[in-house]
């Protein structure tokens, strides 16, 4: 099943991207030399803590970086265009919405409270699909139905405050779809929602992905959500992608110690009455130059070289790469904690069942 929706046609390619911010006279390196390909029709999840740069990365794809942020080097290739070279808003308007659309985190703040939701969706239909009047109205109603809203003619005339959080998120999704995008970026689409609503919205997004033939990028820190939606996972830490692979590869055959640490701190892996695994220390200060592996100071498996030289991507399989010196043939074998091994074991056992 997973192989079927993983064709190898690249739709977007990020190459050696470096993004910096100037803050109070200092330079902060938010994205440190990232390369990432996005394949047509897949859904990719970018996982990381806050401050790891996952939002900055997707904002750069949409041209939504804050004023003090800029692309220092690298390319973002889409349809023979280099988005990294875009300077003006006019350039970006060709991409934003039309080609790449975004669903943001908080549906409470992303809608205009003074306009009916119908008008807000129709606005996009008119602008991006070039429809007018009756036609635009009908497309809007169809979009509302598609995102699972009933009684659409009445709902069209209502204001955002008349909707619940889950319903508002559906409307935000409808607005994103109104632009007919090829790529849909979902930035923590469900963190502000309840679990039951979250399940519905994620299911909706999956259905829409199929229906509209979208390529989706999820940004999240919830590994449960990732497991539900992602074909591939990219794990970010301190502005760098440290591991990328298919969902099951990263979950059950993770290679980078940070991936291990993220999984180990899941409460599902803890046993009652004992201390849960927690990552010591704090993420590095990105104002300073990072030497070696950024995770090394917090990493119990760190080697000497981790503090000196940045590890390259080691290939684990055709689709699975990890940036850790532990994969170097010269490095010593490490013993993983039992809870983690048990988790890997259990997970892989499901693979055989399918």
């Amino acid at each position: 099943m997973m192989e079927a929706n993983h064709p190898q046609e690249r739709i977007l390619s990020i190459q050696n991207l470096v993004i910096q911010f100037t803050l109070r006279g200092q330079v902060l390196k938010a994205i440190r030399d990232i390369s990432l390909d996005l394949y047509k029709g897949e859904s990719l999840a970018i996982v990381g803590e806050s401050g790891s740069g996952k939002s900055v990365l997707v904002k750069s794809i949409m041209g939504l970086l804050d004023k003090n942020g800029y692309i220092d080097q690298g390319q973002i290739l889409y349809n023979d265009m280099d988005l990294a070279g875009f300077k003006t808003e006019e350039d970006w308007l060709k991409i934003r919405g039309k080609e790449i659309a975004m669903v943001t985190q908080d549906p409470m703040t992303s809608l205009n409270p003074l306009k009916t939701i119908g008008k807000q969706i129709e606005e996009c239909v008119v602008l991006h699909q070039g429809l007018k009047g009756k036609e635009a109205y009908h497309v809007t109603l169809k979009l509302l139905t598609d995102v699972g809203i009933y009684d659409v003619e009445k709902r069209y005339k209502q204001y955002p405050h008349e909707f619940s959080g889950g319903m508002r998120q559906r409307i935000v999704i409808a607005i994103a779809l109104a632009c007919n995008p090829k790529i849909l970026i979902c930035d923590e689409p469900t963190t502000a929602l309840d679990v039951t609503i979250q399940a519905q919205i994620l299911q909706l997004l999956k259905n829409l992905q199929k229906k509209y033939g979208l390529t989706t990028v999820y940004i999240t820190h919830d590994l449960g959500v990732v497991a539900k939606v992602a074909d591939r996972i990219a794990v970010m830490y301190a502005g760098d992608i440290i591991e990328v692979g298919k969902a099951h590869e990263v979950f059950f055959d993770g290679k980078h110690p940070y991936t291990w640490a993220l999984i180990s701190s899941l409460p599902q892996l803890g046993s009652k009455g004992e201390q849960l695994f927690s990552i010591k220390g704090t993420p590095p200060n990105l104002f300073k130059e990072i030497k070696g592996d950024a995770f090394a100071p917090r990493n119990q498996y760190a080697l000497k070289i981790d503090f000196v030289e940045r590890p390259p991507f080691f290939k684990v399989s055709d689709t699975h790469y990890a940036r850790t010196w532990l994969l170097d043939p010269r490095s010593p074998k490490v013993e993983l904690p039992e809870a983690l091994l048990a988790f890997f074991e259990e997970g892989r056992s499901y693979a055989n069942e399918q």
Partner: protein, 314 residues
């Protein structure tokens, strides 16, 4: 749960907001006990009333009907001033959002000692400073932090300050209202560990309010599921997770995404339809299905639940 001494008893609690046409029953006839030394969790969606119960015990929300007992004595209504003082000190709360729950304009020193000052629970200035020192050390912060402002700290550190503020009062019972949902994954584990080690050291009892069921399963001894102001199911946590009986509990459990892509892909999320109950003609009551496992159901349903018991979700 070493001893079965009841610390908190909530009896037929009812909380109503508004009057007349705008009347809204937030909590409808809820009863449960919390034993000394245990962690009791309340789970439910937003708007289900879980926070309202916590706030009613904190005496922030007024109780419309029913009783709340602490150590067997009522804490709402007309009570002696001394007892009132004691409750204020013994019951403390940890809030959800560490960014919003600390006074931005006060130093950590003041934030932590405000409760002490209000209850005059220190002998002299040196004693006060010593107490703050200890509270900070207990939550894994440095005593020097006392002279800083909240904005100088990260989210995890701020939550620790919030915990220190509760601890300094030497409470017996702490209400933790979604204490980790605003924190990052890696920080969550740290704060969870802190809460459980503090529980052991200080013999605390927790009421843990949350919507993240994986954390509830890890931390709590007993769990109550609340839906629209009613507790629909209450049991020991493992029992509740391995054998959920009420359809709403089952929906809630099935909605939690598990960190396993294989499992998640095949999973069908159940949807709870409250119209499946015939509660107009056969009103439900809170009944014990097996020892310590309570479900809100009517006679006919309880029969069905008893026969089809053991239908765990995972």
């Amino acid at each position: 749960m070493n001893s079965r001494e009841k610390l908190i008893e909530v009896k037929n609690l009812k909380v109503v907001f508004g009057k007349g046409k705008n009347k809204f029953v937030a909590i409808n006839d809820v009863s449960f006990d919390i034993y000394k030394g245990e962690t009791f969790s309340l789970v439910g969606e937003s708007g289900s009333g879980k926070t309202t119960i916590g706030r009613a015990i904190m005496r922030i929300n007024e109780v419309s009907d029913g009783q709340i007992l602490f150590h067997g004595k009522p804490i709402n209504g007309r009570i002696p001033k001394v007892w009132d003082r004691e409750i204020t000190q013994k019951i403390q709360m940890i809030f959800q959002d560490p960014m919003a729950s600390l006074n931005e304009r006060a130093k950590v020193d003041y934030i932590i000692s405000e409760g002490l000052a209000n209850t005059k629970n220190y002998k002299n200035e040196a004693d006060r400073q010593q107490k703050i020192r200890n509270a900070l050390l207990n939550v894994g912060l440095l005593p020097e932090f006392a002279s800083r402002f909240p904005h100088e700290f990260s989210g995890g550190q701020r939550q620790r300050i919030g915990i220190a503020r509760a601890l300094v009062m030497e409470p017996e019972f702490i209400i933790a209202d979604e204490p980790i949902s605003a924190l990052d994954v890696s920080i969550r584990a740290q704060v969870l560990n802190l809460l459980s080690s503090l529980q052991e050291e200080n013999n605390l009892t927790y009421l843990f309010i949350a919507h993240d069921l994986s954390i509830v399963r890890f931390i709590s001894d007993r769990t109550a599921v609340i839906y629209k102001g009613n507790i629909v199911e209450l049991a020991e946590t493992e029992k509740l997770f391995s054998n959920p009986i009420h359809p709403y509990t089952r929906t809630l459990l099935s909605a939690v995404p598990e960190p396993n892509p294989y499992k998640e892909r095949g999973k069908i999320v159940e949807i709870y339809d409250p119209t499946q109950h015939q509660y107009d003609t056969h009103p439900p009551s809170f009944m014990e299905v097996e020892k310590g496992h309570f479900v809100l159901a009517n006679e006919e349903e309880i029969e069905r639940y008893r026969t089809t018991k053991k239908m765990g979700v995972s």
